[in-house]
């Protein structure tokens, strides 16, 4: 009896254990199933949906990621047009995601210092930093800049629909994506449409030079020089020249852009690897036949007296003043500079489509034309707590819809090809047509460590040659020696 009771007890215990184990095991499976279901929902929630616009996808996923959490994005930006454009659309993001964006706008000068100091600190205070691409190379290689590749793989930014070359801007030496272009700038020509398109001027030019000029197809070494000379004149008849054929920038740093606009056309098409310097060898490449030719072309126009006399003080800001006050027939600068005069504006003597036209910069006969591209790029800091949301914000900002929205409402330079071709956008910003026409041949400023130093050296010797203080050969020798010394400083 006692034995039977014990057996019953053991059996009951085993039954209970089995039942409990079964129940738990079964429940676990259920739970696992539920978890899997949830994961699938989350994956679906966090993944792209077919046909969904990029901006919608970015805000939807960011909202899902931020669910139940108090998330804030901290963005360091410039208060120049690239920053202003972004500030205008931030409320759209905040409304769609509920994620508040805190911005700190700085001037371009402060930005360069701030970015470098933030990164040098090892613990940047911002999730996203936008900065001028000019200083990009040293920044891009900084270990405190986040590798974007895992996020690009998850959420495709569709680089193929952006202007050619923009993706490459953000690639570091190790081949990983570190930056994201959101505001490119193309170097274009503004010209006096009322004069240059005038048939009387055209026939007078033909009579003098023996050919008809085509403003959309000028060449640096011939027709541009002739045109600049032709339009240099004494308008008020007092015996002194008061109107010049052209205006270009020769002020420190800005002069580098003037040089590059020619240099790229002469050289970069054939040697799209290194220009100005060979970064591997740490050697200046300027003192050669191409470098000389570019210098000669430039100085010929200056020596002929066809450029406004204040070129040595003309920088990115001043060139608009020179052209819009009616001092030159042609002028060159990044597209955004000309935005204020593309429509009639009472504060400018020369403005509006009747007086101002936009075209490619000149090129070299027989070669595809190139222009220089510059602009703003942004990156995510390595120590951010919300890399995915930060990435989605950058993706959203560069999405076709937001790109277009910014182009319509501010001085934004779009990244998507479609925005440049949109008739409504072109109606608001006619320079886009000229910018897009040669976007196939965009070249960026050199992606090497000492470009800024190189640029200043080049600027100063351009000023010396333009002033007659140095010959081209002397200038090139000095440029070569000074640039090589800079390479030595960075251990080359």
């Amino acid at each position: 009896m006692r034995k039977g009771k014990l057996t019953l007890l053991i059996l009951s215990f085993l039954c209970l254990t089995f039942t409990v184990t079964f129940l738990f095991a079964g429940g676990g499976k259920e739970k696992a199933k539920e978890e899997m279901k949830e994961e699938a929902v989350v994956e679906k929630e966090l993944g792209p949906m077919p046909g969904e616009p990029m901006d919608k996808m970015a805000t939807r996923i960011a909202k899902a990621l931020a669910k139940g959490k108090k998330i804030e994005l901290h963005v360091l930006l410039t208060w120049d047009p690239p920053g202003q454009a972004l500030l205008k659309v931030i409320p759209i993001w905040e409304k769609a995601t509920g994620i508040k964006v805190f911005t700190e706008p700085l001037s371009t000068i402060e930005m360069s210092q701030k970015v470098n100091l933030e990164l040098a600190s090892g613990e940047p205070d911002y999730d996203i930093i936008q900065y001028d691409r000019w200083i990009h190379k040293p920044v891009l290689e900084n270990p405190n800049v986040l590798n974007l590749d895992p996020y690009i793989k998850k959420w495709d930014p569709k680089f193929e629909t952006m202007l050619p070359g923009l993706e490459e801007w953000g690639i570091a030496d190790d081949g990983t994506h570190r930056g994201f272009v959101f505001w490119p700038g193309m170097y274009i020509m503004a010209y006096r449409a009322d004069m240059i398109n005038d048939p009387k001027e055209k026939s007078a030019f033909q009579e003098k030079y023996g050919y008809v000029y085509d403003i959309d197809n000028l060449t640096w070494d011939k027709s541009y020089k002739d045109l600049a000379e032709f339009f240099t004149r004494d308008n008020d008849g007092d015996g002194k020249i008061d109107f010049w054929g052209s205006c270009e920038m020769f002020a420190p740093y800005a002069a580098g852009d003037t040089y590059m606009s020619r240099y790229l056309n002469y050289w970069a098409r054939d040697h799209y690897v290194d220009y100005l310097s060979d970064p591997e060898a740490g050697k200046c490449l300027l003192n050669d036949a191409t470098g000389k030719r570019v210098f000669k072309d430039l100085i010929d126009v200056v020596n002929a007296g066809s450029m406004v006399p204040e070129i040595l003080q003309t920088d990115w800001g001043a060139i608009l003043g020179s052209f819009s006050s009616g001092r030159s027939a042609m002028a060159f600068q990044y597209g955004a500079t000309w935005y204020p005069i593309q429509t009639s504006a009472s504060e400018f003597k020369i403005s509006g489509p009747d007086k101002v036209g936009f075209a490619h910069i000149p090129g070299i006969k027989g070669k595809p034309r190139s222009t220089m591209n510059c602009g703003w790029i942004s990156f995510i800091t390595g120590n951010t707590d919300i890399p995915e949301i930060a990435y989605l914000f950058m993706l959203w900002r560069s999405s076709p819809k937001i790109d277009r929205e910014m182009a319509m409402t501010s001085l934004h330079s779009p990244v998507r090809e479609a925005t440049y071709q949109d008739p409504e956008v072109i109606a608001v910003n006619p320079t886009f047509k000229a910018q897009f026409e040669y976007s196939e041949n965009l070249f960026t400023t050199p992606a090497h460590l000492i470009y800024e130093e190189e640029n200043l050296i080049l600027s100063n010797h351009m000023a010396a040659v333009a002033s007659g203080d140095e010959t081209i050969d002397e200038a090139l020798k000095k440029i070569e020696s000074e640039i090589n010394k800079k390479w030595e400083e960075v251990g080359k």
Binding site: V139, P143, P309, Q313, T314, S325, E453, A463, S467
Partner: protein, 298 residues
């Protein structure tokens, strides 16, 4: 004896309490003044580039200093700073003295004129630089507009290698002559009128009075003005940076602009620190020399 001890203790505590009062200020000075200076000295002996992580941080001894002394740009900057400082301060002294002499005899409205003359001095240097860009603009500047009215040739002020530094000097003289004027006016007002009355009784003219009474009496006032202005002109940065950034062709590349370019455009903090130390040494020598001159009087 007990009373004496008590008095002694009290006296001692009073004697030492100043140390406790001075300590916070001393600590602050050491912390925010001397600390960074020592750090700057340390950095100046290193290869250190803030932006280029490829440039390894390492001890290089006096190499940064050697680099500066063998750089033609440094000597050019040093020469330009000396010219800028000497010419600006001299002109400011002459103009300030003339203004003060003009105003010392005006009894009515002196304060109004004094306030008017002080306006340039109270404008932010950055704003002076921005105004300078427009005032001296070749095409739309007011100076060339006046030149045109007077049928004078148009000058490219800060966009020409030969005239850029002169433009910076003119702008500095415009801004700071009023400061010198203010100091000299105060000095002039402190000269006892009896000196002049005695000189007049002796039959002295305007020039002998100025050279024999006014100038010698104001010797220390002038030395003080020179000391302050030389230090100021040596660290001139704002206006030049806004207007020319050291160009064209390094023609306005003052020593502070050079320092800024090296430290905050090229982020070569090692060389930048070394140059800051050198500037500091120059300033200490100059300051000490001028202060000794002032002290010799006493």
């Amino acid at each position: 004896m007990g009373t004496y001890q008590c008095v002694k203790i009290k006296h001692n505590s009073e004697k030492h309490i100043w140390r406790w009062c001075v300590f916070p200020a001393l600590f602050l000075i050491l912390f925010i003044g001397i600390g960074p200076l020592i750090y700057s000295l340390y950095i100046s002996a290193h290869q250190y580039n803030l932006a280029k992580t490829q440039v390894v941080f390492k001890f290089i001894g006096f190499k940064n200093y050697i680099f500066i002394f063998t750089s033609p740009h440094f000597w050019n900057s040093f020469k330009l700073t000396l010219i800028f400082s000497a010419v600006s301060v001299s002109l400011e002294l002459i103009l300030g003295t003339l203004l003060a002499l003009l105003l010392i005899n005006i009894k009515r409205g002196r304060n109004v004129f004094r306030s008017l003359f002080l306006i340039p001095m109270v404008i932010t240097p950055i704003a002076v630089g921005l105004m300078g860009r427009y005032i001296f603009d070749d095409a739309v500047g007011q100076v060339n507009w006046v030149f045109r009215l007077l049928h004078l040739p148009r000058i490219i002020w800060y966009g020409n290698i030969k005239t850029a530094l002169i433009t910076m000097i003119i702008l500095d003289v415009w801004e700071w002559s009023s400061f010198v004027f203010l100091i000299i006016l105060a000095g002039l007002m402190a000269i006892p009128p009896e000196y002049y009355e005695a000189a007049k009784v002796e039959g002295a003219g305007l020039f002998p009075i100025f050279f024999k009474i006014t100038l010698p009496t104001l010797r220390n006032v002038y030395l003080l003005a020179i000391l302050i202005r030389i230090i100021d002109t040596f660290k001139e940065f704002d206006k030049v940076y806004i207007m020319t950034r050291g160009g064209p062709d390094f023609s306005t590349d003052l020593i502070t602009i050079r320092n800024y370019t090296i430290a905050f455009r090229e982020y070569n903090i090692g060389v930048g620190s070394a140059l800051s130390i050198l500037i500091l040494i120059i300033m200490i020598f100059l300051g000490t020399f001028l202060i000794r001159l002032i002290r010799e009087e006493y």
